[in-house]
Amino acid sequence: MKPFRIFGTGRMLVVLIIVILAAAVVLLWPSGADTAPMTKRTITEARVKQIREMVRLQSLEIYEETSMRDTVNGKGIFATVRLTGTVSYDLEKLRIDSIGRDSIRITLPPEKVELLESTEPGSYRVVDVWDVRHPLLPASLSASEENTAKTRLVARKQRLAYDRGYVREARAGARETLQKLFSTFPGLYIELAP
């Protein structure tokens, strides 16, 4: 007696082809306003990791819209990035020396130049990723390779903050603010170290 089989090899192939064709039709059908993502994304609620106390005088803010073009491990990336930066001074490391009875000398600590990615919408967009050695093959950049490119970009922009004189400008601004702050104390003579 011949065994009863719902899915023989031939039928299985036909069903498979029908399913693929149906899926292709659905995917290629003009979808209008259908912008639903094609992957499942799950996002957890924000978690407070740390709250740090500080007394930091921030005297300069930098906002930069730039592009990132870099090659890591033979793979290229081109992206647009918005960065926000600050130049600040840790006032808990401020040196205050008494000079005589009513004079003090204030020395600013070294500056902290910090650059972060902006939280404005669209602050990081990947335009292109390619394989430098095999341009016709699809390229995939890993998260750590992408992070390497981003770390280099931030380091380069931090160097530029010095080269463009932003840090010098920030120091002058911080000195001016401190002078104003401390001079509100009556009878106190302030001297700011360069």
Binding site: V132, R133, A143
Partner: protein
């Protein structure tokens, strides 16, 4: 075809570049902010292929059917930190903010109110988990960027709707500036009373 691909592969590889191609737009602003507290907020998100039960639109359902035919799994989890800050705008400090009684060795200081802002986020994403097997394609840089964008949108809404973030930061900032200034004045023999607008 294969030989053509190999031919393309034989061209000189470009050196590891480290340069920007498009001129940047830069804005530099002088400020006088006294930053008193910083909160690190972590957001975590995952990417995986759509299952039919998760699909809502026709296109998603079609994609889910195609996904079910592929062999393997495709899952990734990523996180990053965003920084919120509490600060006093020193340009709002009035000229008569400080009153000193040199005879009694006491002083009172009225500070502008503490405000909070989002300073920015880490450019780098932490890869918490990555498992792509079988015939599944790697999670691309564009997909990670899209996930980060969605996490950012959600975080902005959470911060806006939930005052616990700004309240906790403001309180920490208030405590910090009070203890810092009280200590500074006591070094010079003065007792300071700090109030806020």
């Amino acid at each position: 075809m294969l030989s053509f691909l190999l031919l393309c592969g034989c061209r000189n590889s470009a050196p590891e570049a480290d340069a920007t191609a498009v001129p940047s737009v830069t804005d530099v602003r002088k400020v006088g902010k006294l930053v008193l507290a910083e909160m690190t907020v972590t957001k975590t998100g995952t990417i995986e292929d759509l299952k039919y039960s998760d699909a809502t639109t026709l296109r998603q359902k079609g994609q889910a059917v195609l996904n079910s035919l592929k062999i393997g799994d495709r899952k990734g989890a990523y996180s990053y930190d965003t920084y919120l800050r509490a600060y006093i705008d020193l340009s709002q400090l009035p000229d008569n903010a400080l009153n000193v009684d040199t005879a009694a060795h006491t002083a009172s200081l009225r500070l502008p109110r503490i405000v909070t802002e989002t300073a920015g986020r880490d450019p780098q994403l932490r890869e918490e988990h990555y498992r792509v097997t079988g015939l599944r394609s790697d999670i691309s840089a564009a997909e990670r960027a899209q996930l980060k964008e969605e996490m950012n949108t959600m975080l902005r809404t959470e911060i806006e709707k939930n005052p616990r973030f700004s309240q906790a930061l403001t309180e920490k900032g208030r405590q910090k500036i009070t203890s810092y200034l009280t200590g500074l004045f006591s070094d010079y023999g003065y007792t300071l009373n700090v109030t806020f607008e």
